[in-house]
Subunit: 283 residues, 2 copies
């Protein structure tokens, strides 16, 4: 590893929820622990982060971004966009900047508009969990998780290398992808399952099902229904037409299944189930 | 524990897939290990079970049911119904008989028709997992899992007590329920999530999504899509009209979400997501 791409010495984490809280915990386990500055508007999340060794917290991100050589935004995408513009002048000229939002094109555009294009690399760790807030975080959240990385052409090679090595240092699997390709993929593999989980939960709630009566399969299928509405509406605002189209294709698959059941055409149902089993198990 | 309700000494497990294979493994960990006889038409499942200490295997269930004081059918529901009729005469008069199928009314009726009504108790462990077959089983599958128990009025108290204690002995949480109530609940908490997972997988497959690109949420939402078509069509044959109606209610919730997205009505989307979050987290 070259001198330029050494692990950052001072890291600012703006947002101390599930992802920010997991980052802070994972830094504390590193062999040579960086200095960590965290900020959150939420007093409980701040209190949680304060208990982690080597972490100093503040309510306002503005207090911490000026000291770091790596600034990470771990807040919903709308807040990332807002804060990049607000913090840009305060961020050190040699600092690297990233975020963890679920879409990358809108964030890259905001970084460029804020004059951070050369030093900004977007990250999207494919890691999450049940619950929200600092307490829901885990030190091993990023271990072996794929982390999508996106940068504009203006980004300097030193910046992209440093971020790649940063995630590898946490045990994650960073992978570069074109931002538009990433965002379209996310509508399919992330936004769509999220909305289907919400729709299933709405139907179960309307049928007055007690969530405690769910088995492991039903729990898996409704876990996402407990996700943060704020985080999701932020993302969905940027994917509405693609997501709506895909939702309709799920609805029509559901109708197809309902029709086959009503007809008692179990051969058709078995055929569709075989198709999904083959797809899911990668055959 | 009374003498009558002691843990069975010889157990026959008909079917050595994920559930049967897990049963066999869990027996091997008991402080006083019962004699275990297993049967499966599948040579690989038989070979797996043969490696478990204290287990003797056979291809045909007929060879093993006559020796046991507890007979457990761990095969798809259609096969349970068929085998109860076929094996009834061979089963010891003092033996207790159960199954693990996902619906209980059809099985209870088959047991009564086979003359086993007094000694039959239906079980439905709310436990499962990714994959199928013996190799997908786990010794701890039933630990802390809810196991629904159903019996007809004709069932003897000694039988119901013994089965209750059998499941408790494996660390599970047995709970009695009326069979019709159970079956209606299962259509909601089990068949519906299953079919929605299939529909989502069909939509993702049609959009040519690589399942390796799914994140943890997308993986959870499509895990059930890899379930056994044979097991499911067997169950769905008995729940078609209820399942179809519920499916349509999910489809209409999906349409509702798609419309809100197209209108850009993020307040509505946020409101629905808040509702599902509250429902799922039991508030």
């Amino acid at each position: 590893m070259s001198e330029a791409s050494a692990f950052p010495r001072t890291i600012a984490v703006v947002g101390l929820g599930l992802v920010g809280g997991s980052l802070v915990r994972s830094f504390a386990r590193l062999p040579s622990r960086p200095r960590v500055l965290g900020s959150s508007l939420d007093a409980r999340d701040r209190a949680g982060a304060e208990r982690v060794p080597g972490v100093t917290v503040s309510a306002d991100g503005m207090d911490i971004v000026g000291e770091a050589d790596l600034v990470i935004y771990a807040v919903p995408m709308g807040a990332v966009i807002e804060l990049l513009a607000k913090h840009a002048e305060r961020i050190r000229p040699d600092a690297l900047v990233t975020d963890v939002a679920g879409l990358k094109r809108p964030v890259l555009e905001a970084a460029r508009a804020a004059g951070l294009g050369e030093r900004f690399v977007g990250s999207h760790p494919m890691a999450g969990g049940e619950g929200a807030g600092f307490d829901a975080g885990r030190a091993d959240l990023f271990e072996n998780a794929r982390v999508w990385l996106c940068a504009e052409k203006a980004a300097k090679a030193a910046a992209t290398n440093r971020l790649d090595e940063f995630w590898s240092g946490l045990g994650a699997r960073p992978e570069w992808i074109d931002p538009d390709k990433h965002d379209l993929l996310m509508v399919r593999v992330s936004h769509l399952p999220q909305l289907v989980s919400n729709a299933l939960a709405l139907a179960l709630e309307s049928a007055r099902v007690d969530p405690n009566d769910l088995g492991p399969g039903g729990r898996d299928m409704t876990r996402l229904a407990a996700s943060s509405p704020g985080m999701w509406t932020d993302l969905l605002e940027h994917s509405t037409s693609d997501a709506a189209g895909l939702l309709r294709s799920v609805a029509s698959q559901i109708d197809e299944l309902a029709k086959s059941l009503e007809k008692g055409d179990m051969k058709k149902v078995a055929k569709l189930m075989k198709r999904t089993r083959e797809w899911r198990s990668g055959k």
